[in-house]
């Protein structure tokens, strides 16, 4: 057995995660060909690297198949109800910052707050015969946020990508998505509601609360946490 660390398998998130660990004396690397999802860990004994899609890391932490994992706060909160019971935040990694927000067309000059969105939804439903559609892939977070805020007469429609384009294509009237600079939103003529911030997210190192830890693994984990905290 060894202590398993799950890391996003590609892109900037992987590279920045590797760099973050490197600064703490732990070298993560991919092995084999570019297409093979295998990796190695140097600089600490008894730890192995598991390369996964960032979206699957919450589930793997909750199932206890990995002891540690790097993924965004947004994905953990969306995919794991009662996430506190299943995963513990070890360290925010300081990159991958993104806000989950609600945005509406910039031409809606009468809508700047959730209060406005609610009123516009009621009128929209009366006029068009269907509820105002909000495109998102964060169904649970968005629904709970809107329930809490007392917004009614909306419908969530699923959008797994290019969500900002759904309004122009008239498959949704508004969107709930992550944004870091707001550039894509502006390019698609959308604006963020003033009180429409659902969650601030960033890449985070999580520890599974349910993964079984042999004594040897526990020692590796303690050693690792100790090293991470010394730098942080």
């Amino acid at each position: 057995m060894s202590l398993k660390l799950g890391v996003p398998s590609k892109g900037r998130l992987m590279e920045k995660t590797f760099a973050w660990f490197e600064k703490r004396g732990i070298t993560l690397s991919r092995t084999g060909s570019d297409r093979e999802y295998a990796g190695r860990v140097d600089g600490i004994d008894g730890m192995s690297l598991v390369l996964l899609s960032a979206g699957e890391i919450p589930r793997e932490l909750a199932a206890g198949r990995i002891h540690l994992g790097v993924t965004g706060t947004d994905l953990v909160h969306e995919k794991l109800p009662r996430w506190e019971q299943q995963a513990e935040q070890v360290a925010p990694l300081g990159f991958g910052q993104a806000d989950l927000i609600i945005a509406v067309p910039a031409c809606w000059v009468d809508v700047d707050t959730l209060d406005d969105l609610d009123a516009a939804s009621a009128a929209f439903r009366a006029r068009h015969g269907h509820r105002l559609r909000i495109a998102t892939k964060y169904h649970r977070l968005v629904r709970e946020f809107l329930t809490d805020s007392g917004v009614a007469d909306y419908a969530l429609v699923d959008s797994q990508g290019a969500t900002e384009g759904t309004v122009k294509n008239e498959t949704a009237e508004a969107i709930a998505d992550i944004t870091s600079t707001g550039e894509t939103l502006r390019a698609n003529h959308l604006k963020i509601l003033e009180d429409g911030l659902i969650l601030r997210s960033q890449a985070t190192l999580w520890r599974s609360r349910v993964a079984r830890c042999a004594d040897a693994d526990k020692a590796v984990l303690d050693d690792l946490l100790d090293r991470l905290h010394r730098v942080a």
Partner: protein, 362 residues
Amino acid sequence: MPSRAQTLERAARLRSYFEAAGAEPVETPVLQPAETLLDLYGEDIRGRAYVTSDALRGEQMLRPDYTVPVVQKHMEHGAEPARYTYAGEVFRRQEHDPDRANEYIQVGYEVFDRENPAAADAEVFALIAEALNGLHLRAATGDIGILMDAVRGLKTTDRRKTALMRHIWRPRRFRALLDRFAGRAPVPPTRAALLEAAEPLAGDTPKIGKRTGAEIADRIDALRADAQAAPISDNELVGLETLLAVRETMPFALEQLRDVAVDLPQITPALDRLEARIEALKARGVDVAGLDFEASYGRTSMEYYDGFVFGFYAETRPDLPPIATGGRYDALTRQLGNGAEIPAIGGVLRPGLMLELEEGAQ
């Protein structure tokens, strides 16, 4: 914990008990078309009910309660008056509390009767109270109809009243709207800027999406009109606040609400109905002097109820959900009735929880 067989046996006995009271037994499919429930409850229902789908029929929900299908059945071809009973599983997602059952047996009794609503209220409450006899439960009652009549009769614009009525079941949004309409909450800066702009729609922002410029212009007109409207008076606001805070035994609650009616005379018919209900409950042998009444009861969890509401709670087991709940849902029959409507009231019991309490008492 009681076994499933024990629970089913108790459910069958309860159903026979309601049949003996004159109810016709009914069955409904477990899979319900999602569209009807989504239209009624909006997206919130997805957080509470299980949704499944197939390519042919689209989205279906595992029956989260019996009331909606029973009302639909009645509105299609029910005789009048009618009494129904049923027993079977309902399914509820429980993502926040793993200790709550996501599938349980419910037994219900529903009365569709236009002759004497007070008598029907008392009949349903008394029958359910009798079935729970010996479990030492606390009953709570309320009446959403009083608050609804109070809002409908406010001396303010129809648009404001419609907005408040729409959020009667969402206390936070209701409160926020009320504060704004009463001039207590500051106008958000963006709203103020919009109202001051001479031609707010004149900008060169590309028009995208299905919501048209005309709809935006309509809302701006409405906001301008609203800014001109006088705030809801302190008198009415205090009246509403006092109303919402009433929490007493039934006869004292009625007395306090009669005082509120000095400022909000529009609630007098609803209070007359409450008084008639108290008499009808007494006639059924219910101890109304010891029965709790909370004017805000049922505002958050019982969306289709629009009159008398009640629930029975095990005070020794605060971890348990209510053992029985019910209420009047006249408006639901209108929504599902394609133009038809009939006063209706019903309640449900959870035989599994009843058995659990009995086991605990031994």
